[in-house]
């Protein structure tokens, strides 16, 4: 029944889309453009160029009518929401749940890297902070008082059964706590050149898991000269925190979501809603006064400052917003898993999220979503599957003659799944060298990355010269 609703909806949207396209004459214009692209010969007439040109033509022609893109979005949304209804595998939907968390993280990191142009290499730290906020404030970990619950209502209950915030109350809380830490570490660094931020965040990302593991019961803080103070058990150290509360059940009209069972579908739908809200907010952010500031700062810091833009403030806001998204993602992740441990949030997680942003397209919201989905699936299942497949394939001809046999033997044991960091590293380097704007580029970013022409380089030189002689 539900499946039918989604199918019919998709069909209706598709029909309306086609009607609209014909009405505004897309088919004629597109045919003309494509014909032109395929007629080109010479160096720009290679097959790859023709395919790329065709894609660009499709994007441009379709982009001319806002209704076409709106309808397309609606169709994508319909398919996205319908996915777990059609897929009966709980494992696969569970994978999709995790991908949603990472898409959310990638969207957040994109504010820092894509919009503000800052490199944050410790993004997982805020993810950890959000997750631990959930773990501490919505579990049996902190037992307060001795006699039953002290406060108990819809929002929050505190007692010897631990502190239990309602999931929906934790959303702003986790975001705020993460943003607070973002400001704490961003403020001293962001006054300086942007690249110091990279190293400080890298250090921050290394330290946070360490501090979390140190703040368990088995540890002590030193007071100097051999005197130590036992550390209160704040994070349960290396022993993880388990039994994190699930969100309360949701029953609205035909919707019945229960988070207590092992069914991954309610999580999936919750994730879709959260992502859609995030996309709307981030798109608005990009077009806002603040979004304009970030572009202006990337283009020319001095001119931006002279237009009244507080550069440090604008950067710090981006950093804090990114942290807030990460903290929120951490909350979602922790409640989904039901447990947190300090080693879930290492540098490799920060790198994974960075790869999503770079692969998809710095600054591009659809790009980052696609990048997030691809890398998340690569990370969780595709690499393992591919590795196993290659290993069996290699095994079938590793006794063959000479180089072919060597290739087979190599494939037989090629450790794709453990080579994740290398694959991510290669993606980062190749993207930056060959396609810095990403798979689905943001228009402005694509222009920024385009190598400057000879003339622009010359102008830059003159500018430097005049700056130095004091004649700006």
């Amino acid at each position: 029944m539900t499946r039918l609703v989604f199918l019919v909806l998709a069909l209706v949207i598709a029909v309306v889309w086609v009607a609209r396209a014909v009405q505004v004459g897309v088919n004629r214009r597109l045919a003309g453009r494509l014909a032109a692209v395929w007629r080109t010969t010479g160096s720009a007439g290679g097959l790859l160029h023709k395919l790329a040109g065709s894609l660009r033509a499709v994007r441009e022609v379709l982009g001319e009518d806002p209704w076409l893109s709106r309808l397309l979005l609606l169709l994508v949304l319909d398919v996205a929401v319908a996915y777990p209804v059609f897929d009966s595998s709980d494992v696969r939907v569970g994978t999709a749940d995790q991908a949603e968390v990472f898409v959310l993280l990638a969207l957040g990191l994109n504010i820092v890297v894509g919009f503000a142009g800052l490199l944050d290499l410790g993004y997982a730290a805020f993810f950890a902070i959000g997750a631990y906020t959930a773990a501490l404030l919505a579990s049996t970990h902190f037992s307060v008082g001795k006699h039953g619950s002290i406060v108990s209502n819809l929002l929050l209950s505190v007692g010897n059964g631990g502190i239990h915030f309602n999931f929906f109350a934790l959303i702003p809380l986790a975001a705020l706590v993460a943003a607070f830490f973002g400001i704490l570490f961003g403020a001293p660094t962001l006054r300086l050149r942007g690249d110091y931020l990279a190293i400080v965040t890298l250090g921050f990302g290394e330290i946070v898991p360490k501090v979390v593991s140190n703040l368990g019961a088995s540890n002590s803080l030193f007071l100097g000269r051999g005197n130590t103070l036992p550390v209160p058990n704040i994070t349960n150290g290396v022993n993880n925190i388990v039994g994190i509360d699930k969100p309360p059940d949701v029953h609205i009209g035909p919707i019945h979501w229960t988070f207590q069972t092992n069914d991954p579908r309610p999580w999936y739908f919750l994730g879709v809603i959260i992502i859609v809200i995030s996309i709307v907010m981030i798109t608005r952010l990009r077009g806002s006064r603040l979004g304009r500031c970030w572009v202006a700062i990337r283009e020319d810091e001095i001119a931006a400052a002279h237009a009244g833009v507080n550069i440090t403030g604008a950067r710090l806001t981006a950093f804090a917003l990114g942290a807030a998204f990460s903290g929120f993602g951490g909350l979602l992740y922790a409640t989904q898993l039901g447990t947190v441990s300090y080693d879930l949030f290492t540098f490799s997680v920060s790198v994974t999220i960075l790869v999503m942003v770079i692969l998809g397209g710095i600054g591009s919201v659809p790009g980052v979503i696609i990048g997030g989905i691809i890398v998340s699936y690569l990370n969780q299942s595709w690499l393992t599957t591919l590795s196993a497949w290659l290993n069996t394939q290699g095994g079938s001809f590793d006794h063959a003659w000479g180089p072919i046999g060597a290739l087979g033997a190599w494939l037989h044991t090629v450790p794709l799944a453990t080579a994740k960091p290398m694959i991510f590293g290669i993606i980062l380097v190749l993207m930056m060298l060959l396609r810095p704007q990403g798979l689905i580029p943001e228009r402005r970013r694509a222009r920024e990355f385009r190598p400057e022409t000879e003339q622009e380089a010359q102008e830059e030189l003159e500018e430097l010269y005049t700056l130095r002689t004091g004649e700006i």
Partner: protein, 262 residues
């Protein structure tokens, strides 16, 4: 006749770079609704004066009073919020932003919205943004039909003279109390420069107080009410255009320099 109130006043303004004193004990005044020009040969320290006022670097000594408040040493964004906007001799546009977006950045300090408002865009923010866009378009139209029709162009794709106009528009957008223009006619031919000066007069008529840097004395003769002449960081002359033109020291500074470099 009562003089209009003083808007900007520098007192013993000094800046040295290492051993070189680029601006030396400079005192000068801009009154409200004036067009004042700062002229001098290359390397006289004119741009340094601008950079000191707009906060690119702090003065070594001296004060800069704007509306009676000392603004010396403030960062550029704080100076802008006090009501001073400027352009640059070498043109500093946001090359990959559109013409309209460039002007909208100029509206930055007039539009007030916080992060949360930027994220959710409530109706009042959307309305303020729409009004700003409308005002920006009017500003562009006032500066010339060509710029107005090219408002969706990338700034880098504009013709040179239009880029100068755009930078002027961005500076005007914040409705500053003082508009500082750094050699706005640099790179223009005499007839273009004359047109531009005519435009500056129109801008002045709309209630802007203007401080102008110019290398070439004849360009600013017609528009300036008062002129201050700098040479080697020192003020060598001051007065009405006619007074300055007749001043021996000015003639010597210009001719002497020319003779030396010829």
């Amino acid at each position: 006749m009562a003089q209009p109130p003083v808007l900007l006043e520098t007192q013993a303004l000094t800046r040295s770079f290492g051993g070189l004193t680029a601006v030396d004990n400079l005192d000068f005044v801009v009154r409200k609704d004036e067009i004042v020009s700062l002229i001098g040969p290359n390397g006289a320290g004119k741009s340094t004066v601008f950079n000191l006022i707009s906060g690119i670097y702090p003065p070594t000594a001296g004060r800069i009073l704007f509306k009676g408040v000392n603004i010396a040493g403030l960062k550029p964004d704080r100076v802008e919020r006090q009501g001073i906007a400027r352009t640059f001799q070498t043109l500093r546009l946001f090359a990959n932003m559109t013409v309209l977006e460039n002007v909208l950045v100029g509206f930055h300090s007039r539009l007030k919205s916080n992060v949360i408002e930027d994220l959710i865009r409530p109706p009042w923010v959307a309305r303020a943004e729409r009004d700003a866009v409308e005002e920006a378009r009017q500003l562009l139209r006032m500066l010339g039909q060509r710029l107005y029709t090219q408002q969706e162009f990338r700034a880098a794709d504009l013709a040179y003279a239009d880029r100068r106009l755009l930078e002027l528009a961005r500076a005007m957008a914040s409705q500053p109390d003082l508009l500082m223009l750094d050699e706005p006619t640099a790179g223009m031919n005499p007839s273009e420069a004359a047109d531009f000066m005519e435009l500056i007069r129109r801008v002045h008529d709309r209630g802007f107080t203007i401080l102008l840097i110019e290398h070439n004395l004849s360009v600013v003769m017609g528009v300036s009410q008062r002129i201050t002449v700098l040479d080697y960081g020192l003020k060598i002359s001051e007065g009405t255009p006619d007074e300055v033109r007749r001043d021996e020291r000015v003639i010597e500074a210009y001719l002497g320099r020319k003779a030396a470099t010829a």
